[in-house]
């Protein structure tokens, strides 16, 4: 995957060697006060992770005393989580929902984004504004009526009933990000395809799409993370463990009792579902950075 990022300009936004003078301007050694800030930022970012893992390794008295290091670390919480059928179901549901939504969104969005990035089109600005405005819709405005509609037609508390509304929010995000990626592909490539007699659609499918694979992958990561993370639609439109995705399962895990929260188990479950995403960020951080900034700054 990482080899594909190689020549894309946005992929290197934060590291590209352009303007080295400015970056090396002044000392390459940081002022001690700046180091203090660097360490503070790192601490702020990492300490919560430490505490989550720490909590997940504790049981009983060691948990309730809030030891800074677990004196008797135990994996018991993890065993409990993996033996919990509801958690496993939720994990399955989340995977299905995220994979299906991301795939479908990517297919439709790549068409739309290509048209918006490259083809002549009437009312392009209006369409883009409309698409952008969908991203600002509060999910509750969709969730409330969906709750009623789905109950009428039997999609309430089903995976499909979650995939459809999530797609509405995934589509504009994917279109917006992909549009900026398509714009970066040199136009000459299409021109030469046209010269060879290709129609615009063939040029798109045979020439542009293969070149856009890195952009598609980046968009897929961003959409996947956002669908995986989404909570409001998930909590409004499901009621049983059969359809609940992970965030909802975890949120209700925690609500059992005000006085005796199973914090150890909740933390273990949280660590389990965070690990894959952390790995994803570690492996694809350049792509995530390029995706997050491409849609926004480059329009």
């Amino acid at each position: 995957m990482s080899t594909l990022t190689a020549e894309r300009p946005t992929a290197e936004l934060a590291t590209r060697p352009k303007a080295p003078k400015r970056r090396l301007r002044g000392e390459s050694k940081l002022h001690p006060l700046v180091w203090v800030f660097v360490i503070a930022v790192m601490g702020f970012s990492l300490i919560p992770f430490y505490w989550l893992v720490n909590t997940s390794l504790k049981k009983g008295a060691s948990l309730s005393q809030g030891e800074l290091f677990p004196s008797q670390p135990t994996l018991e919480n993890y065993l409990v989580v993996f033996q919990n059928p509801e958690f496993l179901l939720a994990l399955r549901n989340s995977v299905i929902i995220a994979v299906v939504t991301t795939t479908v969104a990517l297919v439709f969005a790549s068409f739309a984004a290509y048209a918006l990035a490259r083809l002549k089109m009437r009312r392009k600005a209006m369409i883009l504004t409309l698409i952008l405005s969908v991203t600002t819709f509060p999910a509750i405005a969709i969730a409330a009526p969906m709750f009623s509609i789905w109950r009428e037609i039997g999609l309430y508390d089903t995976l499909l009933g979650l995939i459809i509304p999530k797609l509405t929010f995934a589509l504009p995000l994917a279109i917006y990000t992909l549009t900026s990626f398509f714009k970066e592909i040199p136009r000459e490539l299409e021109e030469s395809a046209y010269m060879d007699g290709a129609t615009p659609f063939v040029a798109f499918r045979k020439v542009i799409l293969p070149l856009a694979v890195p952009g598609l992958a980046t968009t897929a990561i961003l959409v996947f993370i956002s669908v995986w993370n989404e909570f409001l639609l998930a909590v409004t439109l499901t009621t049983s463990p059969e359809a609940r995705p992970v965030p909802v399962a975890i949120a209700f895990f925690s609500g059992t009792s005000e006085f005796e929260q199973p914090l150890g188990t909740i933390s273990a479950a949280s660590v389990i579902i965070t690990i894959p995403l952390v790995i994803l960020v570690l492996l694809c951080q350049k792509r995530i950075v390029s995706g997050m900034t491409a849609g926004a700054v480059k329009g």
Partner: protein
């Protein structure tokens, strides 16, 4: 654009073909979004004009604007409205300040910059519900990291039930949001920072500007579009806040947001009409704010739209 390089005689035929293709390629996405966004919102407006409860299954009665009047004259709505704006104001301003500082830091050349960038990005990977749980465990009385450290050091705050009091609970919710989403603001601002040319800085240096002068007179004004963009995205998100208060306090101690209030009426109290009216009010609030933003703060979005043409 490159299309212009094609001789005019060939352009018109392909123009038509292109427009047709563009329409066909965009239509599926637009249809999906219309069906799943516009239709439900239309239906929500209809529901909000009715008294309809799941409890009284099927019994629906047209009541006009009664649900809206009830909402707009209730303390709950205005409390949720105020809390949501308080949350958005606090978290977005913190995120922009911290995000700008982080972006400046990430733009410096120093050993360990790539490590810093990865570390800063990690909270983005965590789902919001988990982030809420993490901050909840840190602020647990006696057993949380923060309460523990504060009381060990004899500092005030160690014996506070953080999530049990309005001000403190709000502070934890804001911190959790700042922790998770500052990387997003920082990256957008960093991208804006990297567009500023080295020559601009060299010119300033030649003119003998101090670092602070350069920052205030050159960096900040040139960064404005990126900062405004980050502000728009983050504000829209913050006004929709739901997960954080839902997990951290379940809306207790005056931390209920607009989305949460609508959810509570709909799901917990089973009042579909009232819940729909509240969700439409939330929707309108967010829309009004985004229009104000685009109108007064950001030429960016319009410029972007123009560029697309």
């Amino acid at each position: 654009m490159a299309i212009k390089t094609i001789p005019p005689s060939r352009t018109s035929g392909r123009d038509r073909a292109e427009r047709k293709l563009a329409f066909r390629m965009t239509a599926p996405s637009l249809v999906i979004m219309a069906l799943v966004a516009a239709v439900p919102i239309g239906y929500a407006i209809w529901l909000s004009l009715n008294q309809y409860s799941v409890r009284t299954a099927g019994l629906s009665r047209f009541v006009g604007l009664d649900n809206y009047i009830a909402a707009l004259t209730s303390n709950e709505w205005w409390a949720a409205f105020g809390q949501t704006f308080l949350f958005a104001g606090l978290s977005v301003s913190l995120e922009l300040i911290l995000g700008t500082a982080m972006a400046l830091l990430l733009n410096l050349a120093f050993k360990g910059r790539s490590v810093l960038r990865t570390v800063v990005l990690l909270p983005y990977a965590i789902i919001t519900v988990v982030s809420a749980i993490t901050w909840q465990t840190m602020f647990q009385p006696n057993m949380g990291l923060v309460t523990n450290v504060l009381s060990t050091l004899g500092l005030p705050g160690g014996d506070v039930v953080w999530l049990g009091e309005h001000g403190y609970a709000m502070a934890v919710i804001v911190m959790a949001d700042v922790w998770k989403t500052t990387p997003f603001a920082a990256l957008i601002i960093l991208a804006g920072l990297q567009v500023i040319s080295a020559e601009t800085y060299e010119a300033a240096e030649l003119d003998g500007a101090s670092k602070w002068q350069t920052f205030v007179n050159i960096t900040l004004p040139l960064l404005r579009p990126a900062i405004v963009l980050a502000a728009i995205f983050r504000t829209m998100d913050a006004l929709r806040v739901f997960d954080l208060p839902f997990v951290l306090t379940r809306g207790a101690n005056g931390t209920e947001s607009m989305s949460m209030l609508a959810y509570t009426q709909l799901r917990e109290n089973r009042l579909v009409g009232e819940g729909s009216a509240l969700s439409i009010l939330t929707f309108l609030t967010v829309m009004v704010v985004s229009v104000i933003y685009v109108r007064f703060a950001g030429g960016n979005i319009r410029d972007v739209a123009k560029e697309e043409q």
